[in-house]
């Protein structure tokens, strides 16, 4: 059986993003035929809005963004939120993080951030040494734990344990924090009964020995 294959076109963006990045993109896509396209955004740090904009620029030329490659987890997180398939350029990341270590999130504890894509389903556990960033949901009955921070880019509805080796500064952050149970260090709390507001990322941390939930702040990821 011969299947019709539309060839995926590939665009590689120049390293480092300029102020007027839309022009650079438009110049790149000008010669392309309509169809699926894969973009390597190198070390461009793109937010949710910018990727949305990028997508609409492509769509105006009849191009469909099927996958975004990037050196930066931040860009991938934003892209995933838009339902775009993503791929982390691993070799580049290692190089860049070696060259400019101060950029990494946890350089002070010299902890690694563990990046995992996919949903944790009931009965599955993810245990990480260091910080964990999960792109996906933690379903009821699943268990995610880390010796550092737990970050869930998705809905947290299972059990999360941050700072499982005693780090009281560890936090648990999720786009939708609706856990069965939260644990930070040795403190255990049941999840809130009421449903949280939609679209509001929340963060749980230890304050005076009690786990409190607040709207998430970017600052939380920077080092204390």
């Amino acid at each position: 059986m011969a299947e019709e294959i539309t060839e995926t076109q590939f665009i590689s963006l120049p390293p480092s993003r300029k102020a007027d990045w839309t022009k650079a993109i438009k110049a790149k896509i000008y010669p392309l035929k309509p169809g699926p396209v894969l973009i390597d955004s190198a070390d461009w740090q793109l937010g949710y809005r910018e990727i949305k904009r990028l997508k609409s620029i492509l769509e105006n030329s009849g191009l469909r963004l099927i996958c975004l490659n990037s050196d930066l987890p931040e860009t991938l997180v934003s892209a995933s939120a838009l339902g775009i398939q993503t791929h982390l350029n691993i070799t580049n990341t290692i190089n860049s993080s070696m060259q400019n270590t101060p950029k990494t999130i946890n350089e002070r504890n010299s902890q690694k951030i563990f990046f995992q894509k996919g949903t944790l389903r009931s009965g599955e556990t993810l245990e990480v040494q260091g910080d964990v960033l999960l792109l996906g949901d933690v379903n009821p009955g699943a268990h995610i734990s880390a010796s550092g921070h737990v970050m869930v880019w998705g809905r947290l509805r299972g059990v999360a344990h941050a700072g499982k080796e005693g780090n009281k500064q560890a936090t648990i952050t999720a786009l939708q924090l609706r856990p069965l149970q939260l644990r930070i260090s040795e403190v255990i709390a049941r999840g809130p009964e009421e449903k949280p507001e939609e679209g509001l990322a929340e963060e749980a941390s230890l304050e005076k020995g009690i786990i409190v939930i607040k709207p998430a702040s970017i600052r939380a990821f920077a080092d204390e």
């Binding site: 949903t119 944790l120 389903r121 009931s122 009965g123 599955e124 949901d137 379903n139 009821p140 009955g141 509805r157």
Partner: protein, 271 residues
């Protein structure tokens, strides 16, 4: 030919949600569409697919004899009396569980692949040996669940296991949906379930007392009572499985008014 055979595992994790009923009805519905279909009972411990299909008294050999090579495959296959396109490969006796290995399941399915377009495997409940054996032999899967927290939780577990075993695609059938209870917020809604399981919905099956009647009679609903609500749902699932684009029913609208019931009948009576 053999490579195009679709091998579909019908599983749920939790027992009693309607795996066997779905297998039987889907088998009949596919056969009626002219597709050569075989249903394989992988529930060796508690077999009852033969009962549902009304073929219990016709079984001579089982999968056990086929594996022991004391009979040929075509001797063990039980052809359905009314739908000649459908065959059943019955489960052997429960002691098979002691020695059955994933390899054996794969061997059986390989044999069936040559003669059929669809192989439906009725999976046992649970996630132990029986499930693992069945998973090893399948390509794709249908997960059946009910709108209940326990059934959804078990389905979630099973989907995780299917994913790690590389079974693809995995689709969802939501069984025993009661529109009235959903409307009164007494039952998990379709969205509540798909929200957690995050699977493409292959179909909904409405709660229908006729299912019990037909089960006891050994005549799947899709065979005897084509116009009952559940029967229509089963046939639609079979058609979607074959790639036809049939819209899902909206539980908020279905089953409530006589007019809607009538409209559904009109839509499905296509000859």
């Amino acid at each position: 030919m053999a490579t195009n055979t679709r091998i579909i595992l019908i599983c749920s994790g939790k027992g009693g949600v309607g795996k066997t009923t779905l297998t039987a009805n889907l088998g009949i519905a596919l056969a009626r569409e002219g597709t050569k279909t075989v249903v394989l009972d992988a529930d060796f411990g508690l077999r009852n697919l033969d009962l549902l299909l009304g073929l219990e008294n016709r079984i001579i050999y089982t999968a056990q004899e086929v594996l022991e090579e004391t009979c040929r495959l075509d001797q063990a296959l039980v052809k359905h009396k009314q739908e000649p396109n459908l065959a059943l490969l019955p489960a052997g006796n429960p002691r098979m569980l002691d020695w059955l290995k994933p390899d054996d399941m794969q061997r059986i399915v390989k044999m069936l692949e040559n003669d059929f377009e669809y192989v439906l495997i009725d999976c046992p409940a649970g996630v132990e040996e029986g499930f693992k054996n069945a998973v090893s032999a399948t390509k794709e899967a249908i997960v059946v669940t009910n709108p209940e927290v326990s059934a959804v939780r078990d389905a979630d577990r099973v989907i995780g296991l299917l994913n790690t075993n590389g079974v693809k695609p995995v689709q969802l059938v939501l069984n025993r949906v009661r529109p009235k209870m959903i409307a009164n917020q007494e039952m998990l809604s379709v969205e509540d379930v798909t929200d957690i399981l995050a699977l493409p919905l292959l179909g909904l099956v409405l709660e229908d007392e006729e299912v019990i009647v037909s089960t006891n009679r050994g005549e799947p609903l899709t065979l005897s009572n084509v116009n009952s609500p559940a029967s229509i749902c089963y046939s639609n699932i079979a058609k979607r499985l074959k790639g036809e684009d049939i819209p899902l029913i909206d539980p908020a609208k279905s089953g409530s008014s006589l007019k809607n019931k009538f409209m559904r009948l009109m839509q499905t009576k296509i000859f």
